[in-house]
Subunit: 457 residues, 2 copies
């Protein structure tokens, strides 16, 4: 068997690491719909975006034609500190399931930020530094993105100002302390450091904060401070571009050993991991060179692909960012407070939304207890304690492998293991204690949220 030669973990050498990112939009015949300026209702221009985002990142955001974009040497050097990420053959999981399927996962958690977010954080910090900026602002919920950004800013000696949702700041202090260790300033949001924060505090002095409010504060802080710009860890097309390093490494490793996946599975919140993982495979599919089943997995409590609508919407609850056409549950949609599994974003990457709308990929949703069941099973046999987000993909991969067991098919399954769950132990504790519950929004709740979509032509 050829497979006997496939190691548990495939590491590319440093020479084999990608030198260019891949921009899947270049191979899409029908491109994603353009972002709209919320004031004028017209497609955004570079001039609309540069007060908020770094110049070169705006170029990347708007670039629909270049298939490959060079990864600057400084970023390649940083990647070498924690990449290549291993492509792992899940021999132990296969054995535990008794499946003839071959399961592979690309593990992005072997770095201090604990997830794939660092791939884009370092790129965004690099371009900010290159532009001569003093620093960047961002928001963070539980802190995964904020951690990655603080690491990247520390490396390039940039100031990093993180607005962290107040309830997470107080109740989940560990990622906050990681950010501070990397030199970031972390402000509980809402705060008195911005006009929007003061306004919200005056109205709701006891608020726990929300991601929407933190975004608004971070954007205000960037726009109103000389030498600062705002950065974002998902949803944007530039983020998917940077995250293509996941899929490019993955494909190079598979090609090296003659492995061709039948099914590619990734979890999807804003789409940064899924978009990065699938990009070179989707490129082949778009060019008619190969075919793959591609599956997005989302939480049943925040089901933008499976129960949302494809329409223009605000990217943020505060409605300060451009409008984007995407699968959305409405910018006011909030997952139930019992939802512990991440992937809380109300919308979805414009690129992935368009690919899904064209029927080039599927989507599926799972309730969180089923997701944590898969997480526990995976942890016990494969040794890695997965992030709740990643565990959505594990659930789907296990179910595909069990279907192969029934049918006897020897399918090759690839999934993205985006990160580790070390800072999510409260959620694991709820699962261990049997107190974790599920919640599926009603049709009425989703319809009510969608009733507030912005009116666009």
């Amino acid at each position: 068997m050829a497979n006997e030669k496939i190691p548990y973990k495939i590491y590319l050498s440093e020479e084999e690491l990608p030198k260019k990112w891949y921009n899947v939009r270049a191979d899409m015949k029908k491109k994603p719909a353009p972002m709209l300026n919320p004031g004028t209702g017209k497609p955004v221009t570079k001039a609309d975006l540069t007060p908020v985002f770094c110049d070169e990142l705006v170029d990347q955001e708007l670039n629909e034609t270049d298939a490959y974009i060079d990864i600057p040497q400084e970023i390649q050097d940083f990647y070498k500190m924690y990449r290549p990420a291993p492509l792992v053959r899940a021999y132990c999981l296969e054995k535990a399931l008794g499946t003839p399927a071959k399961i592979y996962y690309k593990f992005e958690g072997n770095n201090t930020s604990g997830s794939h977010k660092l791939n884009s954080a370092i790129a965004q910090a690099y371009y900010a530094k290159k532009q001569g900026l003093k620093g960047v602002t961002t928001e963070t919920g539980a802190g995964q993105w904020g951690t990655a950004l603080s690491m990247a800013c520390s490396y390039f000696d940039l100031d990093c100002r993180v607005y962290m949702v107040k309830v997470s700041y107080e109740q989940k202090p560990f990622r906050r302390e990681v950010m501070r260790t990397y030199g970031a300033s972390v402000t509980p949001s809402p705060s008195n450091t911005t006009e929007v924060g003061k306004k919200i505090l005056a109205e709701f002095p006891d608020t726990n904060g929300s991601l929407g409010c933190a975004i608004s504060e971070a954007v205000e802080a960037a726009v109103s401070t000389e030498g600062y710009r705002y950065v974002l860890g998902s949803v944007l097309s530039q983020v998917l571009l940077h995250q293509s390093v996941i899929g490019l490494e993955c494909k190079a490793a598979m090609d090296k050993y003659g492995i061709k996946p039948d099914i590619i599975i990734g979890c999807a919140g804003g789409g940064s991991n899924l978009g990065g993982l699938i990009s070179p495979f989707m490129g082949e599919k778009l060019r008619g060179e190969a075919d793959y089943r591609i599956v997005a997995v989302e939480p049943a409590s925040c089901p933008s692909f499976t129960r949302g609508t494809y329409a223009y919407d605000f990217c943020d609850t505060g409605k300060v960012c451009p409008l984007q056409k995407m699968y959305t549950l409405g910018s006011g949609f909030m997952p139930s407070p019992n939802h512990a599994g991440g992937l809380r974003y109300h919308g979805m990457s414009a690129i992935l939304s368009e690919l899904y709308d064209q029927g080039l990929m599927e989507a599926i949703s799972y309730e969180q207890t089923a997701v944590f069941e898969a997480a526990q099973q995976f942890a016990r046999v494969e040794g890695i304690l997965p992030a709740p987000e990643s565990s959505h993909a594990i659930r789907a991969a296990i179910d595909e492998a069990l279907r192969c067991k029934e049918t006897g098919e020897e399918k090759t399954i690839l999934f993205g293991l985006t990160g580790t769950g070390y800072f999510d132990m409260y959620a694991y504790a709820a699962y261990n204690d049997g107190t974790m519950t599920d919640y599926i929004p009603t049709d009425e709740e989703i319809a009510a949220s969608l009733a507030n979509l912005p009116k666009v032509d």
Copy 2:
């Protein structure tokens, strides 16, 4: 320069991984002093130890003659899930320090237990399973060893009973939940599940527990339960044997690229990491084939090498285990409660104690604020948030590299980065907040503790 070809991270291939552990005692002309039976005062026999420990592990504990011991295939297979551990060239740290020194570190934190402890946990679980046991018992403080053991037991489907110091169980719930996720039962100690626990609770109902008490409970639970044995994560010679995989991998990676370290640095609590890291290098030194400076780094608040005495002592506070000749501060010695940096053990591995006594290695101690300063500096440039324990070695490596900067010497420094600090963020928070303090025990405190050493001929 030959060094230009040295990658950031050297990963051995699976074929290059060690197939045998190395037993440094075989190359020691003067062996470590034998363990003594605390009842008879005579050297322990196999029969003394088998009621407590697994049979094959007792053989390994007593084996002073075989230089190499085969690693069973099942353990090699498990090692492949998280090994090889990378040998990393700290290019960014070198640059930040402006040193001509070449710094390498062996990183053992890329697994869910977060440290090197898994290397011995999987071996001990394997031999327990092979002996047909139902399960094992152990104690854990902050939970690093307990986590590793629960992962290993889950893999071999063994029951795992962990006695966790009560104050850690309550105040540091995250590692507790990792253990539970892996199926271990975790009991706050002291508990009503053992006679010794009941007795302590009757006398001190509000006690926070201690490692000594947890050891006593774990040993009692093992000895009094059919099909169970007790396992321990450090100090023992069998543990150093298993941990030799660290040093063997490290040496293989260095030999592959023609690198010869001048100085080898490791943190030392009970000695498991240091003993494993240095073993093949020490072997060369013992055989007269090469010379290396070998440096043990310990906390100034628990300085067994640098301020303890070389004498027979109890291995545990509860005085139920055999006596061992070692550098010790006395089995009743407790580091100050402000000590956050791990490495709290009052004694030291018998092997390392004998090597130190023969002048084959040095020791140095640091206060914890200096250690966390090094931890933060390292995290910011090398991207890995280190465990407080590991950061003792980082501190020493940085200071050696700064001395090279003064003298212009291009020394090659190797240190062991034993793990990550993700579950130690309270300690980092204290450092970030400026509230961390140092404590050095007085000569009187150490003398008072040493006054209670057992009388041995």
